[in-house]
Amino acid sequence: MFEPRRGDGPGTSRPPDPESAIRPGVRPLAFELTALSKAYERGKGPPVRAVEGISLSAPAGQVVGLLGPNGAGKTTTIKMMCGLVTPTSGRVRLNGYDVARQRPMAVRQVGAVLEGARNVYWSLSAWQNLLYFGRLRGLTRRQIAPRAEYLLRSLDVWERRSQTVGGFSRGMQQKVAIAAALITDPPILLLDEPTLGLDVQTARTVKDWIAQLAHEQGKTIVLTTHQLAFAQELCDRIAIIHQGRLLTDLPVHALLARFRQDTYEIRLGSPLDPGAAPWLDGFSVTQENGGSSIRGPIADQDRLYDLLAQLRAQHLPLLAVEPVEPSLEEVFVQVLKEG
C-alpha cells in the first residue's frame, strides 16, 4: 500500500538534518514536538498557559490519541502542530521539517480537520471544494481529479459531488472535510474531534476510515476525542494532557497494563448479599444467573488472600479470580486523579 513519500509530491524528501537522521532499524519520526509551550496574552491579566512543555513524537503509521478534559490544551497543541498557532517556545517538526523555519514544506506534510469548524466551503459543491483545496496546496487539476474521484467514491459522496456541501448531512459534510484534508495525500493527518456530532453509524464509518488510513496507507494520525471507547479501539498510543501538561504518553496496551494489576474480578457460584458483607466496602457486586461477581481494587496479594478467606468462611463457591483490564475511560480518570 501507499507509503509516505520521501522524494516527491506534496510530502517531499526530508531536509538534511543530523537530529532527524534516519538510523538503520529505527522508524523515522513523522512528527516531533519538543518542549512545546503556548501562553496566550489576555489583556492586562496574567497570560493563560494553554500548553506547557509538551514533548511528543511518533513514527510513521501510528494513530496517536491526544486526550484530555475540556481546556486541557489539545486543540492548541494540534493547531501548533500544523502551524496555525505560533508556539511561545519549543519546536514542531513534521517529517523532519521545522514548522517555524520551513513552513511551506512543513505544511505540505499535513492535512487537518479542526473541531467546531466547517473546514470546507458550504456554498461550493464537494467537487469544487476538493479542486480548490488541492490547488491551494500546490497541485494541478490533472493531479487532483483522479485523487478527488478516489476519495469521494471511497467516502460514498461521489454521486452527490455536484451538490453544495451546505445541503449535506453533518456526517456527509465531515466526510467532505476529511476528503479535503486528504486531497494532497499528506503523510500526517490531524483530526480534532473527528466524530463530534456524528451519528453512531457515520462515526463508525469515519473510525474505520481512519484505521485504514493508518494501518493500510501508513499515515500518521493524531486525533483528539472525548469518546474514549473510540480512542481505545483506534489508537496505537495515547497521550493524556491536563492543564497544558503531558501526563502520560504510552502505547494503549502499556497504558492499560499499568492500571491492570489494581483491579480484580472474583466470580462466585452463588448469590451474595453485599449488605451482609461489610468487608466488601469499595467493591461493586453484581448478581447474575444465580451467581455473583465482585469487582474492585485490590492493592496487593495480602488483601486478595484476605478477601478469599472471607468468602471461604461464608462458604461461597469460588468460580474464578481474574485481573480486570480497565477501560481507557477508567484509566483516563485515574491518570487525571494522579495528575
Binding site: M1, F2, R5, G7, D8, G9, P10, T12, K38, Y40, E41, T76, K79, G83, L84, V85, T86, R103, P104, M105, V107, A112, L114, G116, A117, R118, N119, V120, Y121, W122, S123, L124, Q128, Y132, R135, L136, R137, G138, T140, R142, Q143, P146, R147, A148, E149, Y150, S154, L155, D156, S169, M172, A180, T184, D185, Q201, T205, D208, Q212, E216, Q217
Partner: protein, 285 residues
Amino acid sequence: MATTTTMPSRRSPAIEQGAGRRDPYAVSATRAVLNETQKGLWLLWGHRAVVLPEIITFVAFYPFLQFIIGNGRIERSLVTSTLLPFLTIPILYLAILKLVGDLLEEVNSGTFEQMHLSPFSPASLLVGRLLALLLEGVLIAAVIGVGMTWALGVGIPLRPAGLLPAALTLIDIAAFALLIGGLALALPQIGGIAHLVSGLIFLLNGAFIPLAWYPGWLQTLANVLPTTLGIAVTRRVVLDGQPLAAVWGDGTLPWLIGYTILLSALGWLVFMRNDRRAMQQGKLG
C-alpha cells in the same frame, strides 16, 4: 443514510501522477492565487440571487442620486464630472465590504485556517480573492457606465491611455481592501469602520458632487483617500484628452504611482502583521 465505507486497497491516483515532478514555486503560487479568484467567482455564482439585486441597486442608485442633487432633474454637466468617480464606488464597496464580510465568515467557519495550511503566503492568496471581487465590481461599473452614457446621452471617450490610471486606481482599491482586511483580523468593530471609510470615500472622491465644490482642506483630505487621485488622472486623460506625458510632466502621474506603491506596501504589511498576530493569539479560527 447508513453506509459502510471501505477504502479500496490501491494506490491513490494523485500520488502517482504527482510523483517526480513539481512545478516551480512561482507557477504553483500563481495557480494558487488564480484558484482563489476562481473560488471567488464560484461563490459569486452560488450567491447570484444576491448579486443580481446588488447590480440593480447600484445601477439604479446613480440616476436616483443625480435626480436628487439636480432638484428633480438630471443635470448633464454634473453627470460628466460625477459619472467617472461613481464608477469606482461599486468596485470599492464590493472589494472592501465583501472582503471584510468574507474574511470574518471564514474565520468563523474555519476555512481561513485551512487557507493557512497552504504553502503560499496568505496575503497573496487574498489578492487572488480580491481579483474576483474587483471583477464583479468592474462588471457592475461597466453596466452603469454603458447604461448611463446611453440613457443620459453623455459620452465617456474610450482612450487607451486611460487604462494606466484606471489600472492604478483598481490597484489602489485592492491595496486599501487588503489594508482593511488586515485590520479585520485585529479589530472586532471593523464592520462599522469599513462602512464609515467607504462612505467617506463615496462622499469625497467626486462621485456625489464634484470635488471642486468642497472647501480646500476637504479637497486635501480627499486626495489622500484611495481612488481620488486615480480618478483625477483618469479624468484628465480620458475626458480632457490630455496625453500621459502631460500628467507625468506635472508630477500627477508619478504621485499616483508613488501613492499606489505606498498603499500596496502598507496594505500588505498590515495584513501580514495582523495575520501573524492572529496566529500568535490563536485567532485564525
